[in-house]
Symmetry: C2
Subunit: 184 residues, 2 copies
DNA sequence: AGCTACATGTAACGAGTTACATGATTAT
DNA sequence: ATAATCATGTAACTCGTTACATGTAGCT
């Protein structure tokens, strides 16, 4: 039942640090968690429902005035046990499915400018993401030499996000340079 | 019908260069295509079936002796039209879902050595992938200055694969160094 | 008057994974 | 003997996306 289901494990790992509502989890997933796990709001709500049924998390409804009630989830002892069991198993690298590169393979079907424009657009997106992650890094970890073990781990995921996005910017520049030589 | 379905487009793009059987496509997907699109044998067969029904590709059965017959697929005019329509649309960056980083977030639950061992294992995997891609690059593109437009495009996907895998090796080394300082 | 943020969900569908099925040839 | 390679497929299941549904508060 818990052989794959990595979204479930990501939620458990996040709830391991702090309790969240579905909505708050989704916002967190849209910011810092984004650099290692992406999930939609709907996916998160569905997974929270499953996890609660299985007893890995428990919820408490917080009534609010003028706003819909909140359901705050916390991880249970059973949830922690599930996480620990999963931690010792090896994990495969993420599968790569990158549309832009498929388009590069088919690029010859259309004028050079079409793919070049798309690569330039993507370069901007990744550039902005680098800036966003760097800002989070500075805010959360201003002094790298004084981090606890837990903070170091969180810091490393952000470092990975920055490396990943920077690599894309570099590749885009290489591609733009190589393909711009053409007078097609 | 063709708004997403990026595996279909990847197959169409691959068949744009050369005709392949399902089995040959799968082998190609396990080697060079792997650096931008991963798919299992079963997925490829299913997608080929769909694409043929829709008229985007056509097949020819090649009888073989001592071996099962081969079904060779080629792209049709309609398939090329579908590819061209898709090429001009913008594409979003791939969603990131990396189990190793989730494990890093939850790493504090177990002794330091558990996550360190896993990161070292992953470092080796990515290292080997860098070597594999570099070898393909040297074989297919020994002289970068003399590439056709089409070859440049293919070359760039491999360059992206090398950059991606190298970045992982670098990150693993950073993580090992930072987390080894602990005497936990 | 219309947009964004807050807050939680259901339903349908498309994409990806795993297991099962068949059967000959070649290499160790 | 047994494993790997060649070659194609079906079926069941889980995961991810998109559309739909509901309703208040605050901002411009």
């Amino acid at each position: 039942m818990f052989n794959e289901m990595a979204l479930a494990h990501t939620i458990l790992a996040t709830l391991g640090d702090e309790s969240y509502s579905g909505y708050d989890l989704w916002k967190k997933f849209s910011q810092s968690t984004k650099c290692y796990w992406q999930a939609s709001q709907q996916q998160i709500y569905r997974e929270l429902g499953k996890l609660e049924k299985q007893g890995a998390i428990a919820s408490e409804v917080i009534p609010q005035e003028g706003r819909p009630d909140k359901k705050i989830y916390r991880i249970t002892e059973q949830g922690i046990a599930i996480l620990k069991d999963w931690l010792v198993e090896p994990s495969e690298p993420m599968a790569i499915r990158e549309e832009l590169l498929v388009k590069v393979i088919a690029a010859k079907l259309l004028p050079n400018s079409v793919i070049l424009q798309e690569i330039k657009r993507r370069s901007q997106i990744h550039s902005q993401q680098v800036s966003a992650y760097k800002q989070i890094l500075q805010e959360k970890f201003p002094d790298v030499d004084k981090l606890s073990y837990e903070q170091k781990c969180s810091y490393l995921t952000l470092r990975c996000g920055i490396r990943y996005e920077s690599t894309w910017v570099d590749w885009c520049n290489e591609a733009i340079e190589l393909l711009s030589e053409e007078e097609k």
